[in-house]
């Protein structure tokens, strides 16, 4: 097999964080293969791929594309060499249409005027030729994350990418979308394209990849045929120790009601109702999971409880206090913590440093401030504690936070929110973007919080996660709660039926037969 990509002796040191992100990395990828890259958070996966894409300049090393040495000092040169990249955090213009985003910078024009009809037509043809149906005139802001990803992929294909880099493409997708994405990837590989796939989901590696390279602390420690290694092997290679993939927990001992939401009515982004009269109770010492296909009102429901979205009707009480229309700060003071779905814009402020990010929920309390003045030493030591407890790799107090890797950013959020035994925890996609070792750790932490008496409301697109962590599961469909299942009676099949809007009641014989 000819080699599509060869990276030799790549080395990259980031002086600002003091991290050797790539340490003499040798990677070779054959033409037409799906090559997975796995590794712990901060192992250097994104950095390595950014080097290939010309976003980051290596200190040393050589890159060969199609067995010819190239120098890639800018993404334009990468695109020219037939490389395309879909980033961990998408880079689309939300107010533009799909077609405009795909054609950005390469618009068909006549004397400088863009012809939007041809633009849409070109994009439609492109999409159809790859069997990726889209509506070219829809605006990015209005489409689902899975669709946005498709746009990112089409964007690279329009630029004629032969080598496609996908950085954690499935982190934000629903299982259905993941399935579709992998069909697309397989098709592209069969068509002769080479796929480089960064992922933390080892099951998917087994499923879709031909070969897998494992990175650990900046080093590429091995490349294997996927058929020859088990998931457990991969996990152990990544983390360097035995990983427990199963959550161990005792049965819950629910206490008093901590959170109660009654007949909640919540409007969605477009003003149309998204949640219709949902009622929910979470007790101290239990984890309640919300399952459902994305876009069935879970986000709105959670955001209303968290105070990020106004409540149109019904009420919410936390520890006996009515918080229906209270500000976020009041809710937090009452005992709420919130791990948000979107760490990049909601969970963190990437313009500032680590200290300022961890201080946000506490800056008004002693010892973090006194008489209106921030107390830096206290904030620092809190930041230090999070770095240590959550193993936020390569983070330093006082440094800009945007240089951290995706998973490490998530750990900062987790550390900030889970510290100090909050009475009520909203955990929305808590392990998104984390490596297996960290997932194990977060699961353990959540279960520990539960056992110390926290009430936890968990939302996740991973049904596995819901099933293994929750004590009770509620299923949402179309803005309604379709059913509540005790974990003892829950199985994937029932949840699947509820998620699709079905019903489990026995007096519907028609449905049972179906």
């Amino acid at each position: 097999m000819p080699k599509a990509v060869e990276m030799r002796h790549i080395r990259k040191f980031f002086p600002s964080s003091g991290v050797l992100a790539c340490d003499d990395v040798n990677l070779s990828v054959e033409k037409g293969e799906i090559h997975a890259i796995v590794g712990e958070n901060g192992a250097g996966k994104t950095t390595l791929m950014s080097i290939l894409y010309g976003l980051v300049q290596p200190d040393e090393g050589q890159i060969l594309i199609d067995e010819k040495p190239v120098r890639i000092s800018h993404p334009n040169e990468a695109i020219h060499s037939g490389i395309g990249m879909v980033h961990q955090h998408f880079k689309l213009v939300p107010s533009f249409t799909i077609a405009e985003n795909i054609m950005l910078g390469i618009e068909p024009n006549k004397a400088g005027f863009i012809n939007s009809t041809t633009e849409a037509e070109t994009v439609r043809k492109l999409a159809d030729s790859f069997g990726l149906p889209i509506n070219p005139n829809a605006r990015i802001a209005d489409i689902s994350v899975g669709m946005q990803q498709r746009v990112e992929i089409l964007k690279t294909l329009q630029r004629n990418a032969q080598i496609l880099i996908l950085d954690e493409p499935t982190a934000v997708l629903t299982p259905q979308e993941v399935h579709e994405l992998y069909n697309v990837i397989r098709k592209l590989a069969q068509g002769g394209r080479t796929i480089l796939l960064i992922t933390h989901k080892l099951l998917e590696v087994k499923d879709v990849a031909d070969r897998v390279s494992v990175m650990r602390r900046g080093r590429l420690i091995g490349t294997h045929n996927v058929a020859d290694v088990s998931i457990r092997d991969m996990a152990n290679m990544m983390v360097g120790r035995e990983v427990i993939l199963q959550v161990e927990k005792k049965p819950a001992q629910p206490g008093d009601i901590v959170l109660k939401a009654e007949n909640l009515l919540v409007a969605g982004s477009g003003g149309v109702p998204a949640v219709f009269g949902a009622t929910l109770e979470v007790r101290a010492g239990e984890i309640v999971g919300i399952a459902g296909v994305s876009g069935n009102g879970q986000t709105e429901f959670i955001e209303a409880i968290a105070g990020m979205r106004p409540v149109e009707g019904g009420n919410i009480s936390l520890l006996g206090t009515d918080i229906t229309h209270r500000k976020v700060r009041d809710r937090r003071n009452t005992g709420m913590a919130h791990i948000p779905e979107d760490r990049m814009t909601m969970g963190l402020n990437l313009l500032t440093n680590l200290d300022e990010n961890v201080a946000v929920t506490r800056y008004q309390e002693e010892p973090y401030s006194k008489a209106g003045f921030l107390q830096f030493s206290a904030i620092r030591s809190f930041a230090q504690k999070i770095i240590k407890d959550y193993q936020v790799k390569s983070a330093r107090v006082g440094e800009e936070i945007k240089t951290l890797s995706g998973g490490n950013l998530q750990k900062v959020v987790l550390g900030r929110e889970l510290d100090g035994n909050p009475k009520f925890i909203i955990a929305n996609q808590p392990t998104r973007g984390l490596d297996v070792g960290s997932i194990e750790f977060v699961h353990k932490t959540l279960v520990e919080a539960r056992d110390k008496g926290s009430a936890i409301l968990l939302v996740s697109v991973e049904l596995d996660e819901i099933l293994s962590l929750s004590d009770r599961i509620i299923v949402m469909f179309d803005g309604r709660i379709m059913g509540v299942l005790d974990i003892k009676d829950a199985n994937e099949q029932d949840i699947g039926i509820l998620m699709a809007g079905g019903s489990l009641e026995k007096d519907h014989p028609a449905q049972e037969k179906a």
Binding site: G347, T352, G372, L374
Partner: protein
Amino acid sequence: MIINRLRRLVENITIPVLAVILGLLASVFFVALANADPIQTYRNLFCEGFGPQGCETFSDLVIIRVEQEDGTSQSFFSPFYGENGHSLAIVIERATILILTALSATVAFKAGMFSIGMDGQLVLGALTAVFLGVWLPKQIYALAGVPDADSAPEALRTIMHLIVPLICILAAMTVGAFYSWIAGFLKVKLNVNELISTIILNSIATQVAIWLIAFPLRSPDPNSTPRTDRIDDTAWLIPFNRVLLPDVEWLEGARVGIGIVFALIALVVIGIYLYRTTAGYEQRMTRGSRLFARFGGIPSDRAAIRAMLISGALSGLAGAIQILGVDRRVVGEFASVGYGFDGVLVAILARESIAGILLVACFYAGLQQGATNLQFGNLPRQLGGIIIAFIILFNSMENFFRSNIARLQSRIRPNRGQAAPESASGATS
């Protein structure tokens, strides 16, 4: 840690300095267009802007040789050579207002409010100060039963010297703060873009000012151009060279007074406010991601409004100091000078850093001063503006420079790396 800071400092300074050099180079084209010798022009520009009296060459900016009366000559360190006054003193005079308006812009920017309303706030502040500076003493004299200032008892005048300026300043700050608050309120309650609203508010303020100066507040002196009366002597922030330091020749001709002290205090106070207090923290966090602020429980609307109030007060203060300490009256053109916008530019050039504002304000003031004096030669005054515009242009090309520097480094380094891969990797493991 320290090495990191140093590295960042160097990085932050390199680009502005590069921008200044490139700006000067690019402006050579226009100097040539005006049929002047570039080297000579820049020499004059810098001598007039930053040099001592008698500065004629670039080296005079550092060391100046002066002929003594007895025929010998002696060398002096130029910045301290104050015979017949020094341009740097005028730089300080001009920098005062720039520092305050730049701080005003910075406070707003740091809350994510792109307010450029400094001009309007400053003009209204200036008018408030001039009105009170004329009117208030008159009222006090009437109450005390004296016909005019000259016949007022010494004690009364001393007290007035202390409180009248203070009242004028506080009133000007209040007016500025209120005017800025309007834009903040519109933004927070009705989501009106603050850039647009402050532009409109500026032009309203300018028109109002022109009218006020032309009619209600116009000096009765019939043959003057539109301008207000001069403020009473008791409202005057008397320059140092008249009262405190009359013998310091360095200050000759410069109206440097207590104003610069206010500006420096403002620098420190705002620095502390922004970076040490919870209130400053709130407004800085609001910037970048309002969603994040709300998520963390920060009252971001309140923080934004507070930033606008402080910003307006600083611009009002700038206007008051310019009137009470320098101009002593408002002339018709005052409204259109654009001190406020200069402040915005200084803030941007300084990258909103507190120490940066001090440096950039002085540099900018010197260029302005040098350029104004250039017109005594055969060069248009606008040249100064052109140079400044180029510098800002180059400065805003930050990303371009950064990526090119990075690219340059990568062009140089791989060769070195490939030449000695063993030693390089050996050193790290």
